[in-house]
């Protein structure tokens, strides 16, 4: 969708050093590409060259196969959405006036423009009835940037440029607006070039990340790849020493899921339960009811203590309550965090319907995190899910009593 070819920018005042130096990269249609790097690395200049707010010294920019230099610059900009950190809403105009500006300039009629404004306000989760007539000064920072995003989307441009759009918003609102924007972007299939200096934001939002250093592209690829295989010491340093943890955020519990075969069903004979326990090296199995919902866990020790006959049926009351469970869609970083918080080394994973889907263990997550690259990552995930012996390794130093029991004693 966007092709940068040998793009170079030198400012006259600093002739010797190029701000952007012979940059070549492709951004695919519908992708959100984050330009990332320390300040002064040329990422904003690159962004501004795309809508020709900055004229390239040499090189070409193609959008949809057409050279941007062949466009009338005003026409070009009206076809590209633009969002900046300072929002830049015009304080003399109402919210409606701000959003309607580009459609008006493109000659849309009043009814169509108005309808579009309402549509966009709903899209960014602001009630048109309340906000249309407001002036920017009546809005909070987060609300203003929502309007800023709506304004950029007004004429339905295929491409959007965003210069640290959420940098000035407080952390809580920022997370919400990032999530919402990502949803909107996916739904509308916009190609977005997004400047950021925040690695966490980049990992969260990006389809691809381009890391810049001194006007050069250091590495360009999907976030998983950058985190798994940083191309240089600079990138490894930039993405941070906790990059293994950052990668976990890109994976969800279902990626580390292990087989759900080893379960004890309510109503089964104790003989079968013993067998299940035996086949499971962790010595603990989950107890599920007739609907597949987990109702607790069992260990060999508590089965011994219960003194029941092998032919008796398993009763739900024997099961010990679970400290916590996780959902298949939860990211692994929060799963690990929950493991640390509860002092356990495994969790039962539930699917969307609340049924038991399998186990996720610390060992399996660690194996994933150690995997070199995304491909190997997937294989590692596959192998642990078929091989139960990789199972329940307790967290460091925890042997007796078992992790779960300890958590309960603490509670």
């Amino acid at each position: 969708m966007i092709k940068l070819q040998n793009l170079t920018k030198r400012f006259e005042s600093r002739q010797s050093q190029a701000v952007v130096d012979d940059l070549t990269m492709d951004i695919g249609e519908g992708e959100l590409c984050v330009l990332l790097g320390p300040s002064g690395c040329g990422k904003t200049t690159t962004l501004k060259m795309i809508n020709r707010l900055v004229q390239p010294t040499s090189g070409k920019i193609l959008i949809g196969g057409e050279d941007t230099a062949s466009f009338n610059v005003v026409e070009l900009r009206r076809r590209i959405g633009y969002v900046i950190q300072q929002v830049g809403l015009f304080p003399n105009m109402t919210v409606e006036g701000n959003i309607a500006l580009v459609p008006q300039m493109l000659g849309w009629d009043k009814a169509r423009t108005r309808k579009r404004v309402e549509e966009l306000l709903e899209l960014v989760a602001l009630d048109p009835a309340v906000f249309m007539r407001c002036y920017p000064r009546d809005l909070s920072g987060g609300q203003q940037q929502r309007v800023g995003v709506a304004r950029a989307l007004a004429a339905d441009p295929p491409v959007m440029l965003m210069d640290e759009p959420f940098g000035a918003i407080d952390p809580i609102n920022r997370t919400a607006i990032q999530d919402e924007f990502r949803k909107i972007q996916r739904r509308l299939n916009k190609t977005v070039v997004f400047v950021s200096h925040d690695i966490d934001e980049a990992v969260k939002m990006a389809d691809k990340i381009a890391i810049f250093r001194d006007g050069k592209l250091e590495q360009y690829g999907p976030p998983e790849e950058l985190l798994a295989r940083p191309a240089s010491a600079f990138i490894a340093n930039f993405v941070g020493s906790d990059r293994a943890l950052k990668r976990l955020r890109l994976l969800c519990a279902s990626d580390a899921l292990m087989s759900s075969r080893a379960v004890a069903r309510v109503g089964e004979t104790h003989r079968n339960v013993r067998a299940a326990l035996g086949s499971h090296p962790g010595g603990e199995v989950i107890v599920v009811d007739a609907n597949g919902a987990p109702c607790g866990y069992l260990s060999a020790a508590c089965l011994d203590a219960a003194s029941v006959n092998a032919d008796d049926r398993l009763d739900a009351s024997l099961a010990m309550p679970l400290a916590a469970t996780v959902r298949a869609g939860d990211d692994l970083r929060s799963v690990v965090s929950a493991m640390l918080a509860h002092g356990v080394s495994w969790f039962a994973v539930l699917d969307d319907a609340g049924r038991f889907a399998g186990y996720v263990s610390y060992a399996a997550i660690a194996a994933l995190a150690r995997a070199e690259d995304p491909g190997a990552c997937a294989q590692a995930g596959l192998s642990v899910s078929t091989d139960d012996t990789a199972g329940f390794v307790p967290l460091a130093g925890q042997e007796e009593p078992s992790a779960l029991t300890r958590a309960e004693e603490g509670a």
Partner: protein, 244 residues
């Protein structure tokens, strides 16, 4: 924006009012008012004359100073702007009476030099405030406007001017209040106006005649200021109007 000149005009009005009160206390109030009333026809005629001069000078100043302020504020004119504002400032420092004398030596006697002198005195505050108002528009607004595809002309009229409007109006207020207050001097170069009553009153030591010119002058200055303030309140968009 603070406008010291406006305050000065107001203070002048206050002084006149106090003098009037003193006069009232001195003479019998009825007596004073009826003696003022004998100048009624003169007051009306001369006030009309004076306001006409102010209107012409003021309009001419707006027509010249606002475009000049806009021109100076365009990027890349920093040096030119500096020089022009410096010379306007110097012009402002010349006493109004000297200015009128100079104008008279150029344009002869009558309303013409008076209007010219008032026009020069009005230019600076308007040009200055237009320039400063436009320069105070945040660069990010211009960046955003350019980025969404507005032309330079659209940016000027739809973004910059509305955002500078409040400051420009403040300049207008100052300028017009000065002009109205200075206008009686026009009499000295043969331009007529309420100065006729004031200066003749001084020459004849006729206190009532002096007040018949001074009170309406002060009232007109205050009324002009209030009128422009009202315009400022109503015409500047709510989003950029600190009063609303």
């Amino acid at each position: 924006m603070s406008s010291p000149t406006v305050h000065r005009v107001r203070r002048r009005g206050l002084v006149v009012a106090l003098m009037m009160l003193a006069a009232c206390a001195d003479a019998h109030a009825d007596n004073f008012l009826s003696s003022l009333a004998q100048y009624r026809a003169d007051i009306v005629y001369q006030a009309g004359q004076q306001m006409l001069m102010v209107a012409i000078a003021g309009l001419a100043a707006i027509v010249v100073a606002i475009p000049a302020g806009i021109w100076l504020s365009r990027p890349g004119r920093g040096r030119a702007a500096h020089l022009v504002l410096l010379s306007l400032n110097a012009g402002q420092a010349v006493p109004k009476l000297a200015l009128l004398a100079l104008a008279m030596s150029l344009l002869g006697i009558g309303a013409k030099p008076a209007i010219f002198g008032l026009w020069v005195a009005t230019l600076l505050p308007i040009a200055m405030n237009t320039y400063e108002g436009l320069r105070a528009v945040p660069p990010t607004l211009i960046d955003a406007a350019t980025g969404i595809g507005m032309t330079r002309r659209q940016i000027l009229w739809r973004v910059e001017m509305p955002n500078a409007m409040y400051v420009i109006f403040a300049g207008l207020r100052t300028a017009l209040a000065i002009t109205v207050g200075t206008a009686p001097l026009a009499f000295l170069v043969g331009g007529g106006g309420l100065g006729e009553l004031i200066f003749t009153g001084i020459d004849l030591s006729d206190f009532t005649m002096l007040l018949a010119g001074a009170i309406p002058t002060a009232a007109l200055a205050i009324a002009t200021d209030m009128l422009v303030a009202q315009m400022q309140f109503r015409l500047v968009p709510r989003g950029v109007n600190p009063q609303r």
